[in-house]
Amino acid sequence: MTVSAPSDGAAHASDGQGAASLSAARLRAVRVVVSFVSGLLFAIGLGISGMVRPEKVIGFLDVTGNWDPALIGVMVGGILSYALIHALYTSKTRPLFEEDWRHIPRIGRDLPVNAVVGNVLFGAGWALAGYCPGPAIVSVSSGQQSVLIFVGAMLGGLLLYEFWERSRA
């Protein structure tokens, strides 16, 4: 029994026996593997980019002082490569191993006040320690006390958000 990769916009199991559940499970398994590879490459990219070095991040934010513009290159490299690949695939009816694009948010034109506040809080926190979520998680295995404390507090902040959001519902 085989499941073929979608070429016509749908995944098929060639013998049709229990097709729907097996192909859905196979798709899920592939997505899990892809996620791991994506995370792995993402982490290595973060390392090469210098973003796991708080002093480089703060140097990039230190526009009125000793400015290190290096991280502009990270944004440019990341945005251009993503934009190119995205532009090639976004018109397809579905991702390669998913049924549809429902998990991709619609392009938003505005930012509610709360979200603006969130961005301000994030920007301030980012500048204080030089960590944002990705680099912090990537750096955890270094065992450095600063990373571990930051990540612990970040989990706390994420938790706080969950309870806060729930209380407003």
């Binding site: 993402f42 290595i44 090469i48 991702p95 961005n119 994030f122 320690a129 979520p133 990705g134 902040g157």
Partner: protein, 148 residues
């Protein structure tokens, strides 16, 4: 000129785009980590379906981190410690954790994926958090003499 930031950025972009093309998901770290935490405290069927791939992605991040931090290959890129004091680290973590969720994303979700998709919302968000970061460093470092 050191082009490593560009190469690193390209790899980040490609890794994120992989998630888009294959899985139809956005590689926004705050959403991925936040979503996992949400499933821990407020489990739901809908969020549960997203748990395995998110765990897998975070595992990839951590293993990638091991490669960066502990193998000789990437020694010149290994993570360095933050100079921030413990109270500042705690405050920073709380702000980043809460703020990224409230703000619907972080440097990966808004800064890379959002801008690459020509999302005005993500462009605004990125300008706001980068701008705030710049103001914060300017004030703390050059007015109050901290962060040095």
């Amino acid at each position: 000129m050191d082009l490593n930031p560009v190469y690193g950025g390209i790899l980040i972009g490609v890794a994120s785009a992989l998630l888009f093309v294959f899985n139809g998901r956005i590689a926004g770290i705050s959403g991925i980590a936040g979503g996992l935490l949400r499933q821990v405290v407020f489990p739901s069927q809908r969020v549960e379906k997203e748990t395995f791939w998110r765990l897998s992605f975070v595992l990839g991040l951590i293993i990638g981190g091991v490669v960066i931090a502990h193998t000789g290959v990437f020694a010149e890129f290994a993570p360095t410690a933050s100079a921030a004091s413990v109270p500042l680290l705690v405050l920073a973590g709380l702000l980043v954790g809460f703020g990224t969720r409230l703000g619907w994303g972080c440097t990966s979700g808004h800064g890379i994926c959002g801008i690459a998709r020509f999302s005005p919302r993500s462009l605004f968000a990125t300008m706001i958090f980068v701008g705030t970061g710049m103001v914060t460093v300017a004030v703390l470092r050059h007015v109050f003499g901290l962060l040095n």
